[in-house]
Symmetry: D2
Subunit: 344 residues, 4 copies
């Protein structure tokens, strides 16, 4: 089989660029869990500033960002309200229950975006018999929803309901900057209503490892206890943080290119007979498409694409997901789309 040359599997596949590698190799470092790594410290300051929070903590993955936030906000028996497609519900190994003893009440949102009214209905009545509603979690952008951008007004109305009922608010901002670039709204505006928020460095931003979680100083102090407990406290992690600082300077604006490429890809393949794609949902760098009408299964199409050197993953029997990122050029998009046309 030909090697994969065009990897649309996920934006987590991004490789560090030579310039990013150079920044990492030259980074001044120290013991980050003693607060002595200057590069990690700098990254945390920058992220706190970007998200408008008092403090931030560097962690080895986005999953750990989510799970630590949940551990800090929730006690055993508490319940989290989020979308049925949420990463914390579907792709973190059941960690909210396993680590925090917290349940999840899933809402039936639209492409991963739910409404204030749905939150209202999902809040438990006062009763010792029920789980205790405690946290609302918003995923920006909504990954399994199709890279959907949460509109600022929706966020604000959801936040208002949460506040009224003394619920905490957490943003899983894995792809926060895709929303920032797609909507032209600065990060701080999106994150303002949240008690905690994080974004991933290793997805569209192109870093090899890590995410940064931000919140109040008290929240981050508690998060540090969990960072130690879960084994997320590292040593000379400035090597990794240096990539983050580089990415925040050089890789945010260029996300617009990923969005243009996703759009191009979606529009191109929408013309292929048998492929169905909801163009209105392609807002950022993710394109879900349905291949039922081709007579081939999603896995079959994924396998055939590999022989063209193209990797696009099947997410279920009928659907595939393509994700654009900094290793994907406009030409790659055209090549991938043509391969798809030949197959279907």
């Amino acid at each position: 089989m030909s090697p994969i040359r065009i990897n649309l599997y996920s934006d987590t596949q991004t490789l560090p660029t030579p310039a990013m590698r150079k920044a990492m190799a030259e980074a001044p470092v120290g013991d980050e869990q003693r607060g002595e790594d200057p590069t990690v410290n700098r990254l945390c300051e920058v992220v706190a500033e970007l998200t408008g929070k008092e403090a931030a903590v560097f962690l080895p993955s986005g999953t750990m960002c989510n799970e630590i936030a949940i551990c800090v906000h929730c006690r055993p028996g508490d319940e989290i309200i989020t979308d049925r497609t949420a990463h914390i519900l579907n792709l973190e190994g059941g960690a909210p229950a396993a680590l925090s003893g917290a349940s999840i009440w899933p809402l039936e949102g639209s492409h991963g975006v739910f409404t204030a009214e749905q939150v209202q209905q999902g809040i438990r009545p006062e009763s010792r018999h029920t789980p205790r509603s405690r946290l609302v979690c918003v995923e920006q952008t909504a990954n399994l929803g199709g890279g959907t951008v949460w509109p600022l007004e929706t966020i604000q109305s959801v936040a208002e309901v949460a506040r009224t009922h003394q619920l905490a608010l957490h943003m899983d901002g894995a792809r926060l900057f895709n929303a920032v670039i797609a909507a032209g709204i600065e990060a701080k505006k999106y994150t303002a209503p949240f008690d905690s928020v994080w974004f991933d460095l290793s997805k569209g931003l192109g870093c090899p490892v890590g995410g940064v979680l931000a919140g109040s100083a008290a929240f981050i102090e508690e998060a540090w206890w969990w960072k130690q407990r879960l084994g997320g406290a590292m040593r000379q992690a400035g090597i990794l943080a240096a990539a983050g600082l580089y990415a925040l300077e050089h890789h945010i604006e260029r996300l617009a290119e990923d969005h243009r490429n996703a759009r191009r890809f979606a529009e191109y393949i929408a013309e292929i007979p048998g492929i169905s794609v909801a163009l209105e949902t392609v807002e950022t760098n993710i394109v879900f498409f349905d291949v039922t009408a081709t007579g081939l299964s999603a896995v079959e199409i994924s396998d055939k694409l590999k022989s063209y050197g193209v990797l696009i993953g099947a997410t279920d029997k009928a659907r595939l997901r393509a994700v654009t990122h900094l290793d994907i050029s406009q030409t790659d998009i055209e090549t991938a789309a043509k391969a798809l046309r030949e197959i279907c």
Copy 2:
């Protein structure tokens, strides 16, 4: 306000009869957690026989029966598949996550009854990212579904899917004998496909305290460790078990009367303008009815009923739930229905 004379709030409200009290007062007892209470031992033997299992353990509540079963079947990170209306999801304080670290994947069943196909779709794919599907839980009868009886064939097809995927099967049989009497199918037939099953003594059977959990000898041995850990190991519990033995002898057949009363009540109130009741779902001793069209809220109606000495609880803004049981006569039913007609 007049005292409540007709208590349709729940079948948990049943009071021990004089004959049951006498049986309790005369019960031979011993230290049950050392296996030396003859009355508890006898009850466990009878329940094991009734449910067709190797062994059984007496516990202070149905919630503990469910939660111990989940603790034995699941490890942290595992996922339970059940109906969105399930007691374990809505009315046990988030205990599956809090005590076992287990998540719940809720299915959208019909009146609390889901299909084999829905189970199939709810099973997670093989992936280290997801929770691990581990247990299917069936509630017989489905309380918040309206006292619905799970048909034997539905149980068997659900069990087949579970077996195919190496999932364990648990029956929350809180009102198992209501199903047995309503359908004329013996308990053993319903429980045969399950790894664990329990039924409640303190609901329709009229005992003051307790439930009995049954399963294989190995399962019950593990359940005993959790009984100790959760504080369910008691001492001279034969006092309580004596009520259970009495109820199994005298209070099962009479559930038919509760079902007739529920049916009468449902048919009567279905005629009241503004009240809506899905008669086809009234299979056992529970009647949910909607009062939207009366112009009154459920709470308002519940409050007005109290002045007639009738207690029927509001379960949300528009619905109330009436439950018949051994302290409710046909006359009580007629009185309650008339009160409702006067109010609406």
Copy 3:
């Protein structure tokens, strides 16, 4: 083998007396988890009064009293400071870790009683690396310590250290009234420094089932959530609570007799060649004795005693534990001691 006529295995073996059974059989009852059981309510009021706390909750066992208190006081990662012989560490199935995620730091006390200085040394320094010291637990009387009474001054000095470090204080008062009677100090004095306290109804007090946990109104409200979650919420539990009310009226003063019997037994067997008993530690109703010098193992002696109709349990290779209670008369003590003399 002859039946056991003299059961010194534990004071949990006490059987309800005819008068207690009568009180139970006649008790007015209701749904205790809805706050409607008048007998349970009365018992909780009496216990709150006796212990000088705002509120109390009835539970099916002492283990549940301890574990609920720990669940309320601790969050995952917290640490409990207590004696190495403590019931919560040795005899509750690892529940503090299993249910609360709390660790235990064991102190090497003297006969189950530790000092303020030991607590001071057991408190963790401020550091994100360590567990978080959170709760000090005192067991009155200290069961595996030999039924030792915690002196009031020791309690007060331990409490002072705990307060200085913002630690919560819990009393496992399983045999609190044995201390009250032995020392002539009222319960309220012992319990005053504690945030939570419980005592057992089913040990020396002679009830079949249950313990009562007391604390501030806010503490008890939280305890109720855990009572539901663990399955300790019962229905017409007044049947059991009636025994508790009876015992509080009739079975406290008579504990003095159990203490005299334990003393008699200890003094008698101290004379038997090969048996060693630390007479100065026999303060209440528990007598540990060492049989190493008899040349027989503790289990062998326990087995031989059974043929005399006497039950005394071996607690390890060399030691046995005898516990006096309301089913044990002075004659029984003499018979048991004589049997022991014949055997050794």
Copy 4:
């Protein structure tokens, strides 16, 4: 205050060397959680080979290695037997209880090393009341014990007791290679009896981040589920693994130099009046010393040392701990010792 030039705080303070940084910058990388990072894969193969196990997994910290092993071996209610000075008990934030629901039964070993007989005594009897003994954990070298090397025969006799009682065996080999070099015994011999073992890359081996956990293929498959759940699954982690491969080639043999330096330091300061050091325990790169007789507290001495540019941490009121590593030369040792002589 003068900057720290001689950092004896911990071997975790080691900075990556230029050659190590170069290896990292040039590492081929991929998505490690999809099994596609060639450098991570290579590191895992090398570690599996070195430790004689079927498989290995790369993790962001030693704490995560320990905690994942515990999560895999233990279920809630299980108990771990280890030394009272163990890292898992004292320096991982109470994670065994918080994440696994497991308790720890601490043994009073000698400098962190316990005996087979102590393990035997620490195993719980068969009883539903107690925690369930499940895992024995050995720390090689014993950090808080003073860098003590576990003798091979002690390991083997401890393992035999564990096997006899069906307990699992885990080695916290944070400084395994210090033992290997000090004793001249190859890693594989030490690790042979263990079900799971890990060593740290970021201590004496000089890497910035990470540890590697090894065991059977089935154990590592389970460990991967927990790696996802805890947020230890990274992306292009080959950057970090490259440092590990470099260290395994270049930084093992040189640990002998760290041991000579520790020895020199210990012998030098043993001569200083008021300083007490147990020379026989200085087997590797860690030197604990007592300063009680100087009339100064440990913190005072630590502070004074800083003004000489020397960092040695106080571990309690009377003791300090100095740790040698690859950034510490023989001259540094002499300078530090002289500073100490001037201060005391």
